[in-house]
């Protein structure tokens, strides 16, 4: 006994049902996915954005010797956090101009793990005073855990969105019979057809990347999403530690002996690691119970020069400098996971690879964006009364404006906040983030109140102006204006200025096209060809 709709679905074939699955799975969390894609895309330059966000920290003209810096930081920690059970420092490299460290503090409230963090000058080992900001880390964290909600919730939401994306990609491919022919087809200025062609081209061009990035994104948090195998198999603390060691080089501090013994040279330990992995390939130094007989020093390999993030480290006895163990490899499945993880983060690559990642990822962002816009373009032709569309249509239309153009404004506003908020402001880093959301909410309000075309044009225009003026603001508020950066060969600061202008131009082009395109659209209405819209929408499945 099948119902009417069931009979229909039976007759329509797999491509039609995949097309519908693609449409609805893509729409439902489309705005979440768009935000994840765009903030994720800029996160490939997270370290550069963080440098930009702390203009007080001087540029490093050459990469400092990790062995020397590590010793400086170790000496500093005798004063910064004497008696801490653990401190860990990410050493400066080609992309980071400061040593970033975190350490355990005596936790005040029970059950709360106390951590403190800070940036250190690689030249002096002193703690540096930079403005309080999350910098590029805000976009990075937002990308997989959002904000204003408990971290696990945000990560679950990101996981569900990624799963939707994976389904959208697979169903999108099945929908496409003529995937290669369509890739080479582009029909400009043809309304829905153009949107469809743009969507196809962006999707197919980056298809392996989009599929890879979505799947590997799930892999980065898979232990949280799929804990069941582990819950059945891993019972004892020893087994848990064994599993953990396959995934991360981060070790928990053991028990201190209580016996004070001076530490051996950290420089020598890092030298040993440099001999093993290469001079510029030490990522992190981790010290537990410094100054105690039970002190341990772990030196971790950097991310470059290998296509895996699986843990590789050397463990030394802190007081003698004797090598206790060296971990060079993990099991097969763990290594696979390490490679997938590394593929997602793209940290193994040089500048060229990073730019490729950035550009293809941007195409992925545009793929989601064009998909969202296409949902409305496709349906506008079928509306019974185009002057008064139904509520669902209007909602999608407005959310698209705020979700796409509004996000550009909000992200730029975050960077403006970084330059404009007073450094003395209490909770400054949080204010920058609040500003991002306040501006985004204002953009949503604007999108709801204004006519659709005007809202698109105004928001794209506002984003363009804000982006264009950001380098001007930077020149006015810091000692590092564009011309100065170029003269100094500081391509982090100059590059961000140039990218602001490139994105300003992109938004301007989009604003102008939107302004012109929608003016022409009503004339080309398909009222004279009632069947055309149906053919066109059915044609999307072909």
């Amino acid at each position: 006994m099948t119902t009417k709709s069931e009979q229909q679905s039976a007759g329509r074939g797999i491509r039609q049902s995949m097309s519908e699955l693609h449409t609805w799975v893509g729409l439902l969390l489309g705005w979440v996915l768009y935000a994840m894609f765009l903030t994720g895309t800029v996160s490939y330059f997270k370290d550069e954005l963080s440098q930009w966000a702390r203009p007080e920290l001087a540029r490093l003209t050459e990469r400092p010797d990790a062995a020397v810096v590590a010793q400086r930081i170790a000496t500093a920690f005798d004063k910064v956090a004497p008696g801490t059970s653990q401190w860990s420092v990410r050493l400066p490299d080609d992309r980071n101009n400061s040593a970033y460290a975190f350490w355990r503090t005596a936790s005040r409230e029970p059950g709360q793990r106390g951590f403190a963090e800070g940036h250190f000058d690689p030249a002096t080992g002193e703690r540096v005073a930079a403005r309080d900001t999350l910098g590029g880390d805000f976009f990075y964290r937002f990308h997989f855990q959002f904000h204003y909600m408990p971290v696990p919730w945000g990560r679950w939401l990101a996981g569900i969105a990624a799963m939707f994306m994976l389904v959208a990609i697979i169903s999108g491919v099945i929908t496409h019979k003529k995937i290669f022919v369509d890739f080479f087809t582009f029909r400009w200025g043809k309304g829905q057809r153009s949107w469809l062609d743009a969507h196809n081209m962006l999707s197919v061009f980056g298809l392996p990347f989009h599929a890879m990035i979505t799947y590997t994104g799930l892999v980065t948090l898979m232990a949280m999403y799929m804990p069941w195998g582990g819950q059945v198999a891993i019972k004892s603390p020893a087994e848990r530690q064994q599993l953990q060691a396959e995934l991360s080089a981060f070790t928990q501090p053991g028990k201190p002996s209580g016996q004070k013994v001076p530490m051996a040279s950290i420089t020598e330990m890092v030298r040993e690691a440099q001999q093993r992995w290469g001079h510029d390939n030490v990522g992190r130094v981790n010290v537990t119970h410094s100054g105690d007989a039970a002190a341990r020093v772990t030196v971790t390999r950097g991310d470059s020069g290998r296509l895996s993030m699986s843990p590789q480290y050397m463990e030394f006895e802190g007081t003698t400098g004797r090598l206790l163990s060296a971990r060079d490899e993990v099991g097969g499945a763990a290594e696979t996971r390490g490679v997938l993880y590394a593929l997602h983060l793209g940290r193994f690559g040089d500048g060229f690879t990073r730019w490729l990642y950035f550009l293809v990822s941007l195409a992925g962002t545009a793929m989601v964006g064009t998909g969202l816009v296409m949902w409305t373009v496709k349906r506008r032709q079928k509306l019974s009364d185009p002057a008064r569309p139904h509520i669902g249509f209007r909602l999608v239309e407005r959310l698209n404006i705020a979700g796409i153009a509004g996000l550009s404004i909000a992200m730029t506003a975050f960077l403006w906040g970084n330059r404009l908020l007073p450094t003395t402001l209490a909770g400054r880093a949080n204010w920058e983030v609040d500003l991002f959301f306040i501006v985004w909410a204002l953009a949503l309000g604007h999108a709801l109140l204004r006519p659709v075309r005007a809202a698109w044009v105004e928001q794209l225009g506002a984003a363009s102006v804000l982006l264009f003026l950001l380098p001007v603001l930077n020149a006015a508020t810091t000692q590092r204006p564009f011309w100065h950066s170029v003269a100094q060969g500081d391509w982090v600061f100059a590059g961000i200025d140039l990218m602001c202008w490139a994105f300003a131009a992109l938004h301007l082009v989009l604003a102008r096209r939107t302004a012109r395109h929608h003016l022409a659209a009503p004339i080309k209405r398909r009222a004279d060809r009632p069947g055309a819209a149906a053919i066109a929408s059915g044609g999307a499945a072909e």
Binding site: S5, M222, I234, E239
Partner: protein, 93 residues
């Protein structure tokens, strides 16, 4: 009354499919992460391998659920795959 029944008959299978995709798919993926423990891999590697494969199982299940002709068939397919997995999972727990 008749309208309500019709509505239900029309949307029921769709809701059933959505349930099969969201929850059935997840359950199948979760089951596979336990079933893989029955493989000769070491425990730790099997746990990781199960997690890696689970998302592909989940995605495949969702596609299956919407690709087949009817909602009952969608559920049947999930159950047919779940049975041997459950057997393997039962052998290790």
């Amino acid at each position: 009354m008749n309208v309500v029944v019709h509505r239900f008959l029309a949307t029921g299978p769709l809701i059933s499919r959505i349930g099969a995709a969201l929850f059935g798919g997840y359950a199948l993926a979760a089951l596979s992460t336990v079933a893989v423990l029955a493989s000769p891999m070491s425990k730790v590697q099997a746990v990781i391998a199960g997690q890696l494969a689970s998302f592909l199982v989940y995605a495949g299940a969702v596609i299956w659920v919407f690709a087949v002709r009817s909602a009952p068939k969608a559920w049947t397919g999930l159950i047919v795959v779940a049975l041997p997995l459950a057997l393997a999972a039962w052998s290790v727990s």
